[in-house]
């Protein structure tokens, strides 16, 4: 690293978290507020929200026995409507055994391999999305509540650095779109503030439910950067930063986006 890049690197770290470009708390908007009235109507009504199909599948999986232990999620956790309330609003959370934050999908897979003695579910598989959607649905309406302590601080800083760091052939940082130019248009689409309030969510463009990892991979491909693999530590750090940045905003899972 040359002295010049080192200086830039240090400068980007100091502005991370409380930089001039950050969105003031009062001006934070969920992507929901930037959608058309019609798309909002699809999300608002459980009878029309296609994400509910995955939530219902997740409920069935929650109660189904699985793995060598022949136990269902419900055998330990009971009724998800009470036991999982507010859980998704606290993820990614620090895992002491792994020594780093894990997101909700990874937590479900840890439970599967360690408690159910079952093979982990593949990222973006129908089953994992359904279980994640069902768990996250129990936090709908609750404020995102990411607590940062000394153990998780380095990972938050890494995520913040990734958000403010220019990358890819287009040499763009996440913050240049989502902090500095939100509300303007990128081609025909409104640039949102990138608050992950409703994941996993149903994108009309995808015609199915998808995770925040899928959305971030889309963004990286968009700026012509090499996308990380699903569940990569870099993505979990960024997810932690994005959730922390949205602290206090209400969960919408399963959200609908255009």
């Amino acid at each position: 690293m040359s002295p010049r890049t080192a200086l830039l690197f240090a400068a980007s770290l100091t502005c991370a978290g409380a930089g001039a470009g950050d969105i003031p708390r009062a001006e934070r908007r969920s992507g929901y507020d930037l959608m058309s009235r019609e798309t909002r109507a699809i999300q608002d009504d459980d009878a029309t929200n296609p994400g509910m199909l995955w939530v219902l599948d997740g409920e069935a999986l929650w109660n189904r026995k699985s793995g060598a232990a022949d136990r269902a999620c419900a055998a330990c956790h009971g009724d998800a409507r009470t036991s999982m309330k507010g859980v998704a609003a606290r993820y990614p959370a620090f895992d002491a055994a792994l020594g780093r934050p894990v997101n909700l999908e990874q937590r479900i897979n840890v439970c599967r391999t360690e408690r159910q003695k079952a093979p982990p579910l593949a990222f973006e598989s129908r089953e994992l999305l359904a279980l994640t959607a069902y768990v996250a649905r129990q936090s709908r309406g609750l404020p995102i509540d990411i607590a940062i302590d000394a153990r998780s601080k380095p990972f938050l800083d890494a995520g913040s650095e990734a958000f403010h760091h220019r990358q890819g052939q287009l040499n763009l940082a996440c913050s240049q779109c989502h902090d500095d130019n939100w509300g303007k248009r990128l081609a025909g689409s409104v640039i949102p503030q990138a608050h992950p309030t409703g994941y996993p969510l149903y994108r009309l463009e995808w015609q199915e439910l998808g995770s925040l990892g899928r959305r971030m991979r889309n963004c990286l491909i968009g700026i012509r950067a090499e996308p990380y693999a699903y569940g990569a530590p870099e993505f979990v750090d960024l997810e932690l930063y994005l959730m922390w940045r949205a602290n206090g905003m209400k969960m919408e899972t399963p959200a609908v986006r255009p």
Binding site: I42, D45, A47, T48, L53
Partner: protein, 106 residues
Amino acid sequence: MARAVVTVPARAKRGEIVEVKTLAQHPMETGFRRTQTGELIPRDIIRRFTCTYNGTEVYRVELHPAMSANPLIAFSTIATETGTLAFQWAGDNGYSVTETASISVE
């Protein structure tokens, strides 16, 4: 997994216009798309949706390619008598799902 969700008001007044909403889980593959190696992905869509109210057909849809995945079909009907609304979706590759909902008319 083939799931369908229907929403019908539980009770209505006689002669009232009630809204019925249905959501069927289906990929609605058009048959026009190709894989990365150029092979055509075969068509897999819902072809027909019908709703009967106490045995009488009140609504029917023929679906074609280029309709969205997980199609939402909403329509209205007149609440004439207490009974059952039966819904049926049928499509390619033997896809067939049925669902019922009851309505109480005062």
